[in-house]
């Protein structure tokens, strides 16, 4: 059983127009097996929350704490956070020219498991992860995210989620740019990872569509850098009907 605890998190970013405060005190606790949907309008700071927890250098934490089972995540380098059990499925996965998917996955698995996975079992593992997400085997020889369609990038992210087996995953708008079929396939991947590893999930999204496939236990409305309302799945339905207008004006 793991717990990711975010307390009073305040984050700024340097822009051409000076320092801008984006997160203004975020409190959130996620336990293994729980799925928390974070919903909110564009620019409310949802992605900043995701990237700050993962340790992107662009963001400066000015106040607050993030701990995983009591360990101070904010003190860790980006790779140490992954080793501690965090995973970020990115909205815009980055192209790495000249590095094949198979090389990348094996390097990551080696780093996270502390030893190189045995070649024979690893090949089977990757193959079945790809099959489960309806991915062409030729995918493994392509360069990481290079020339991938939007849907391929998201499948690749979720394939990593299944292979790398984190304790806590933040899915940053994994649903964006997916058609209905791809959304279903990707959601099934997330559900398999939840099932297999008792994964805790922070699901960041604009839309309620993905919540039909990945059932949230909690829904948080995010606006202007903080959580402004919390509830169960019924809150998502209310948002579906009314939109974010009530929260944005606050």
């Amino acid at each position: 059983m793991s717990t990711l605890e975010i307390r009073g998190l305040e984050v700024t970013v340097d822009t051409d127009n000076g320092v801008v405060e984006i997160l203004k005190g975020v409190d959130l606790t996620i336990k293994s097996g729980e799925t928390h949907a974070i919903m909110g309008p564009n620019g409310s700071g949802k992605s900043t929350l995701a990237y700050s927890i993962a340790g992107h250098p662009k963001y400066t934490i000015t106040r607050g704490t993030v701990t995983l089972d009591g360990a101070d995540i904010l003190e860790m380098s980006v790779d140490e956070r992954a080793k501690a059990g965090l995973f970020l499925a990115m909205q815009y996965p980055v192209e790495v020219p000249g590095v094949s998917v198979s090389n990348f996955l094996r390097t990551a698995a080696t780093a996270l498991r502390g030893e190189a996975p045995k070649l024979r079992t690893w090949v089977t593992e990757v193959k079945s992860a790809m099959e489960a997400l309806n991915m062409d085997p030729a995918f493994a020889t392509r360069n990481v995210n290079e020339g991938f369609s939007g849907g391929e990038k998201k499948r690749h992210e979720i394939m990593q989620l299944e292979l790398l087996k984190p304790k806590m995953a933040i899915l940053d708008e994994t649903d964006s740019g997916l058609d209905v079929d791809a959304l279903r396939i990707v959601s099934e991947g997330v559900n398999r990872a939840k099932e297999a590893n008792n994964l805790g999930v922070i699901l960041i999204t604009h839309y309620t569509r993905i919540l039909r496939y990945i059932k949230p236990d909690f829904v948080h409305v995010f606006a202007n850098g903080r959580i402004v309302e919390q509830g169960g799945p019924e809150l998502a339905e209310k948002l579906e009907a009314n939109g974010y207008a009530d929260y944005v004006s606050k």
Binding site: A54, G55, H56, P57, K58, S77, V78, D79, R81, A82, K83, F87, L88, M90, P93, V94, E95, V96, P97, G98, V99, N103, F104, T107, A108, A111, L112, N143, V144, Q160, L164
Partner: protein, 362 residues
């Protein structure tokens, strides 16, 4: 050795062609001070297939050169190491030429000729290793319809100086591809130059270089489109790490008035991996006719992409492994063009170890 009666114009460093080169580190190759030994270091590594010969013979130069070091070599020796591939020979396995042990207190003047007869096909890989001071006039003659992949590996040891011109003269419908890899030596200055003498030919000049602290690597490309309907592509990628690592890439492409239907593109990308390193990159297109298919160039010099490193590290990969992956990935596209797995692995390992060395010095 013949007597030096010619008055060579010793470069001062102010000339365009020499403005980047650290003349003081050339061991006197440019000003005649170097003591020339009579060693001939180049030899065939394995046996030669039929249709291929490697001999020492007196040959006149294929083409003129305005490079003073090349002139000095030619003034000193008529004798040439000649790798000849007979017309219509198709040699599938690479022909390896390698170096015997050199020396840095004396210099070697080397003349080399690689010639392919009509419709011959071959892959030649030159392994430039050892510690040496070496000036080389290497000329390549491609008869009509021939096809050569020419790989040169500058894997010299730390004190070496290599000043060379690799000049290809390409006849009708011939195909020339070069892969120039420079990862070792104190000063390496190569002039990869190409001259088309009949239509329908193509040249693909590829290169990678990795300079670490104190190393100077210069690649001064010249492609002369003097005839119609020839195609050229230039793609060099370099990385630099460490104090006073310095690379120079010059890409001169000349499209003469007669060269209608020319198609050319040149690209140079540099990755600066630390402070204190300097990459000079000067693409230069001179176009004397508008009747061409295409002519373009691009040059970029940048640092590690933080987003790439973040992505890799967010999957648990350490910063050093992430950097190694990115650098390998950067060079991969061109190193794979060598086509020989053993050589490719060796070059990638060398790049890894250079990177490691540079990282430990930071």
């Amino acid at each position: 050795m013949s007597v030096l009666t010619t008055n060579y114009l010793t470069p001062s460093g102010r000339e365009e062609a020499w403005r980047f080169t650290p003349l003081k580190r050339l061991h006197g190759l440019h000003d005649g001070v170097a003591v020339i030994s009579d060693r001939v270091s180049l030899s065939v590594k394995n046996g030669l297939p039929s249709g291929v010969s490697f001999t020492r013979e007196d040959l006149n130069p294929l083409a003129q050169s305005d490079d003073v070091i090349i002139e000095r070599i030619r003034g000193a020796s008529k004798s040439v190491s000649h790798l000849s591939i007979a017309a219509n020979s198709e040699i599938a396995e690479p022909i390896f030429l390698s170096r015997s042990k050199g020396a840095v207190d004396t210099a070697e003047f080397s003349r080399v000729r690689i010639s392919l007869g009509s419709n011959a096909r071959a892959i030649v890989i030159v392994e430039n290793t050892t510690d040496t001071v070496l000036a080389e006039d290497l000329e390549i003659s491609l008869a009509p319809g021939s096809d050569l992949k020419f790989v040169t590996l500058q894997e010299f040891e730390a004190e070496s100086v290599y000043a060379a011109r690799h000049h290809a003269v390409i006849d009708k419908d011939a195909t020339f591809k070069s892969v120039t890899v420079t990862v070792g030596g104190d000063v390496v200055r190569i002039l990869p130059t190409v001259e088309f003498i009949a239509p329908g030919a193509s040249a693909n000049l590829l290169g990678v270089y990795f300079a670490t602290a104190g190393q100077f690597f210069e690649h001064r490309i010249h492609v002369d489109h003097a005839v119609p309907h020839a195609k050229s592509n230039v793609n060099y990628k370099g990385a630099l790490a460490g104090q006073d690592a310095h690379t120079v890439w010059i890409g001169d492409v000349l499209i003469r008035a007669a060269a209608e239907g020319t198609d050319t593109y040149e690209l140079n990308r540099n990755l600066l991996l630390s402070d204190g390193a300097r990459a000079d990159s000067v693409p230069n297109l001179e176009i004397e006719t508008g009747e061409i298919i295409g002519a373009g160039h691009a040059s970029t010099t940048g640092r590690f992409d933080d987003e790439q490193l973040f992505y890799l590290m967010s999957r648990g990969i350490s910063v050093n492994d992430a950097r190694r992956l990115v650098v390998r990935g950067f060079f991969n596209e061109i190193v794979l063009e060598i086509g020989d797995q053993v050589v490719q692995d060796r070059i990638m390992d060398r790049i890894d170890s250079e990177l490691e060395k540079a990282a430990s010095n930071v």
